[in-house]
């Protein structure tokens, strides 16, 4: 569609436009000041970025990988942006999430963030978006580090704008840990550069097998996995995440939950499958960690009384599923991992959107304060039902598509019935905490003060966006082939050289 509308010259620029637009727009937010325009402007920017990434995805699906040499310096010497189906899907996920989150969040931003900080907030948001998109788009290992840091620094600032004083400690802790992660990552890249003399990812892939410095490369591999694992919140490097999700402003939580960890996960997959082409080591390391994440994080989720915390621990558990799929290292399994990322973004994004609405109206995100809230906020509650069912993986929701793919992939890849049984057992825990939330909001009896309080449904924009996401959960559950085709293409692209 876009290929026919857009001129060829513009099409060739798409890979860089994707990143350049939000980067250039970010400082404009500061200039726009405190007026209402800054929100509309940011929304417009994210919309343009989302359309760009859609065009890019179509381009890549139709006509092979897109490559862009930054500054006209040809790769492998210059920085290359290289888009294949694997990262095109991630780009779409990030940019569409960015758009929907801003579309949803005007009211909650006004409620949670002081007026004078608004321009800076939107600047940081767009920078965060830039960073995440850059990490996904770039074909250069060092450039990936740069963008990872851009997104991280912006995220620290975003988290710190949270109302509660604990947002500051959460942001600080994340800053320390994130910096450690980034350092190990960049040391790993330094070692790779030392051993091979290149930073271009596809060039690295061809040079690594020929390199005599085997031990150096092994060390680099380990450092990179740890660094990215921290960013992706793989158990046991996850402990920055619950506080960040709980104390950041809602808009930040929604955006991070839908995107941030997935981008790190993507980059990790790229390193494992394309650059090092050695999944056995990663599999051995990641599989047990993933299993631990599934069980322990779900159990932790059961213990929490704050809805945001429940969902944060749930994210850690779900990330475990994604790592588990990656560790299996077959085309089917990686496709399942991509499906898990997409459907988890849909489910968790929708959930946090509904939570934002309810928390805004009730002024609390404690589950105890939400008893019987479904009566006063029926639509927000309905969104929660749909998204929780999707999270559990009930048929006719997007989550089921991913779950079925994962089960079949485990069967065909490992052939181990026990492994499938363990994963299926882990998913029971999801059911438990989802059930706990649903029962409280539907069947709980509100205390008197709440019952008589004049609680209204969430503001229209919040509600409509959340319902749109819920509808997507159902649509992609009914029409599962859309997402699974995309994921298969992504997996094929990643594993083509494998």
């Amino acid at each position: 569609m876009f290929a026919t509308i857009l001129p060829a010259a513009l099409l060739a620029q798409l890979p860089v436009l994707q990143v350049a637009i939000p980067l250039l727009a970010a400082p404009v937010c500061v200039l726009l000041g405190r007026g209402r325009w800054v929100h509309d402007f940011s929304l417009l920017v994210t919309a343009v970025v989302a359309i760009t990434s859609l065009a890019l995805l179509q381009l890549v699906l139709g006509g092979g990988d897109a490559s862009y040499a930054l500054g006209g310096f040809a790769p492998p010497w210059g920085i290359e942006y290289r888009i294949d189906p694997a990262n095109a899907v991630i780009l779409l996920l990030v940019s569409v999430s960015g758009f929907l989150v801003l579309l949803q969040s005007r009211t909650s931003i006004e409620a949670e963030i002081p007026k004078q900080k608004h321009p800076l907030f939107y600047t940081a948001f767009l920078l965060c978006l830039t960073g995440l998109l850059g990490v996904a788009a770039t074909g250069d290992a060092f450039n990936a580090f740069v963008f990872l840091e851009i997104s991280s620094l912006a995220t620290y600032a975003l988290v710190a704008t949270g109302k509660s004083p604990r947002a500051l400690t959460a942001a600080f802790r994340y800053l320390i840990l994130g910096t450690i992660g980034a350092s190990t990552f960049v040391i790993g890249i330094g070692l790779l550069y030392m051993a091979t003399g290149t930073l271009n990812m596809s060039d690295l892939a061809t040079r690594i097998p020929a390199s005599p410095h085997h031990a150096v490369i092994q060390a680099a591999f380990a450092l990179i996995i740890v660094g990215l694992g921290l960013k992706a919140a793989i158990f046991p490097l996850h402990f920055w995440l619950p506080n960040v999700y709980t104390f950041a402003p809602m808009v930040v939580t929604i955006f991070l939950a839908a995107t941030a960890t997935k981008v790190a996960l993507y980059l990790l997959a790229r390193f494992v499958f394309v650059i090092f082409e050695d999944a056995s080591f990663a599999g051995m390391l990641l599989m047990p960690l993933a299993l631990l994440a599934m069980f322990l994080a779900s159990l932790a989720a059961l213990q929490q009384g704050n809805v945001k915390r429940i969902l944060a621990y749930s994210s850690i558990a779900q990330i475990g599923y994604m790592f588990f799929a990656l560790a299996l290292a077959s085309t089917q399994a990686v496709a399942a991992a991509w499906l898990l990322m997409l459907t988890h973004a849909l489910a968790k994004g929708g959930l946090f959107m509904a939570v934002a609405g309810i928390a805004l109206q009730t002024g609390s995100s404690n589950l105890d304060d939400w008893k019987g809230i479904a009566k006063q906020m029926p639509w927000s509650a309905a969104v929660m039902v749909v998204c929780l069912l999707s999270l559990v993986g009930v048929p006719l929701t997007a989550g089921f598509v991913a779950k079925w793919s994962l089960l079949v992939a485990i069967f065909s890849t490992s052939g181990s019935i026990i492994l499938v049984a363990v994963v299926a057992a882990a998913s029971l825990l999801t059911l438990l905490y989802a059930g706990k939330i649903l029962e409280t909001i539907y069947l709980g009896t509100p205390d008197e003060q709440r019952a008589t309080a004049n609680l209204r449904e969430a503001p229209l924009a919040m509600l409509v966006t959340a319902m749109l996401v819920a509808a997507m959960n159902i649509y992609f559950g009914l029409n599962g082939t859309v997402l699974s085709d995309l994921s298969n293409r992504a997996a094929l692209a990643l594993l083509s050289g494998f």
Partner: protein, 494 residues
């Protein structure tokens, strides 16, 4: 109208009905009319399908919705077993709707619109299960049925109702999400398909020693079949209003469970394959144990609905046992049991509800002499109970007869003893109810006896059990019609 359209309509009609019920929420009479009209139209539609199946056709609708991963689709396909289940569920929905109206109004229950909407959705899901052409489709509707009935179980919203509903949801969802889905994925992995096929799809595709393991995943994954030890959800679900217990937890939900069990036995494993490998031998023993255990538990229950619930657990395992005997005759006996138990047990539940409406009594020990005040209710109850016991002149008799025939081999003689013992036990737990009602003097009321003297419940609470009791009798005499209808499932049956 062609068969495929009728298949779609069978699922869409109740959903459409639910929309109408929601739209008419402020007009209770019109709302109930919507339920009744929908149920009648649905039954007519299902009858059309049944006639078509009786003529040897196989209504089909393949590739409705694409499912993920390598060309799986939702598909519908109707064979005699499913046609029978659909006919029973939709036919009894009419009778039960009449009863619901009488019961819910007489008890002044709240949230009636929600009740009727969820009921209609549950029926749509039951139709989907009956019509599904493969395991995935069946699984989808199976889950919808669980979710749609959860609000019905929690209907009263008391702490007790919530706790019961929690147990209900937890056991049914966890067994299905954990074991059933796992078993389906496993089947798909070894057989490359999950479509139901004559003679099964697993023969030669799974190692013989793994077949019992897969069967166990199915047997415990199908929580709705209430096999020991996953039966606990069924007594927990009895907190629901009685119409729900009557249609859903005696017919639609539990029968969906054993129906799935039969479908898996006949069309996934294949009876021949089960017989050759002996994969279901252990299941027959477990089902036998379930039958006896639940019967003994029923004996000890004083609450009428709880006693009926344990009786249901026991009776459901008849179907599982019949399938696990791994003979075509046994599997057909299982199919008969689906029909016979449905009519018998719905009669009993509706009578229990009528007693509650008229006298607010729930315990067996309080029923003394009540039959004098409620003769029709107790007569219907007696007929239903006798059918469950398996007395001649009532439909339930044929089930025992056929199972005993099917088990008539040296290795399986034990199951004949189980059958007879179970009949004795069911006689033992029903006889006190009937005996107290008819023969014991009424308890001396402490207050003004004449003012609160119980009398027969409203017509809409009494007529429906009367009708279903009469059907129990008709089924005894018309058994060959049903038998001829079901026979095409197996080519080998004479």
């Amino acid at each position: 109208m062609n068969d495929t359209t009728a298949l779609y309509l069978a699922i869409l009609l109740p959903l459409l009905g639910a929309v109408f019920i929601a739209a008419l929420r402020n007009h209770p009479n019109l709302r109930e009319a919507a339920t009744l009209v929908t149920s009648v139209v649905l039954f007519a539609n299902v009858c059309w399908l049944v006639a078509s199946v009786a003529n040897g056709a196989t209504p089909r609708a393949a590739n409705i919705l694409p499912m993920p991963v390598s060309g799986l689709f939702l598909s519908l396909e109707l064979e005699p077993l499913g046609a029978m289940f659909a006919a029973i569920a939709s036919g009894l929905w009419i009778i039960n709707s009449l009863y619901s109206i009488g019961y819910m109004r007489a008890n002044k229950e709240k949230h009636q619109t929600r009740f009727y909407i969820c009921f209609a959705i549950a029926i749509a899901a039951a139709m989907g299960i009956a019509l599904s052409g493969d395991l995935i489709t069946l699984f989808v509707f199976y889950e919808v049925l669980t979710l749609a009935t959860y609000p019905l179980v929690a209907h009263k919203q008391t702490e007790e109702a919530k706790a019961g509903a929690r147990t209900y949801l937890l056991i049914l969802l966890s067994t299905s999400v954990f074991l059933l889905l796992f078993a389906i994925a496993w089947t798909y992995d070894v057989a490359g398909t999950v479509a139901f096929a004559q003679g099964g799809i697993l023969d030669g595709r799974i190692e013989n020693w793994l077949a019992p393991v897969l069967l166990a995943c199915f047997a415990f994954g199908i929580g709705k079949a209430a096999l020991l030890p996953v039966h606990l959800w069924l007594p927990a679900a009895m907190v629901a209003p009685t119409p729900v217990s009557a249609l859903l937890h005696a017919v639609a939900v539990v029968k969906a469970g054993v129906f799935t069990m039969l479908k898996v036995g006949i069309y996934i494993f294949g009876i021949d394959f089960l017989e050759q490998t002996g994969a279901s031998q252990w299941l027959a023993w477990l089902a036998g144990a379930s039958i006896l255990y639940a019967s003994v538990r029923a004996l000890a229950k004083d609450n009428l609905k709880a006693r009926l619930a344990y009786s249901t657990v026991s009776q459901l395992s008849y179907v599982t046992l019949a399938m696990a005997l791994a003979t075509p005759l046994g599997a057909l006996a299982g199919a008969l049991q689906i029909a016979m138990h449905a009519f018998g047990k719905i009669t009993l539940f509706m009578c229990a509800g009528a007693i509650y409406v008229a006298s607010h009594r729930t315990q067996v020990s309080d029923l003394n002499g009540l039959a004098r005040a409620m003769p029709i209710t107790f007569a219907a109850f007696t007929v239903g109970a006798l059918s469950i016991i398996g007395a001649p002149l009532l439909g339930g008799f044929w089930v025992k007869w056929e199972i005993i025939f099917a088990a008539n081999t040296p290795e399986q003689l034990i199951f004949i003893i189980v059958m007879i013992a179970s009949s004795m036990l069911s006689l033992a737990y029903f006889a006190p109810i009937i005996g107290r009602g008819f023969f014991l003097p009424p308890a001396q009321a402490s207050g003004d006896a004449t003012a609160n003297a119980p009398k027969e419940a409203p017509l809409l609470c009494v007529l429906p059990p009367g009708i279903s009791a009469i059907i129990c009798i008709i089924l005894f005499f018309q058994i060959d019609v049903l038998w001829r209808f079901l026979k095409p499932i197996f080519e080998a049956i004479p």
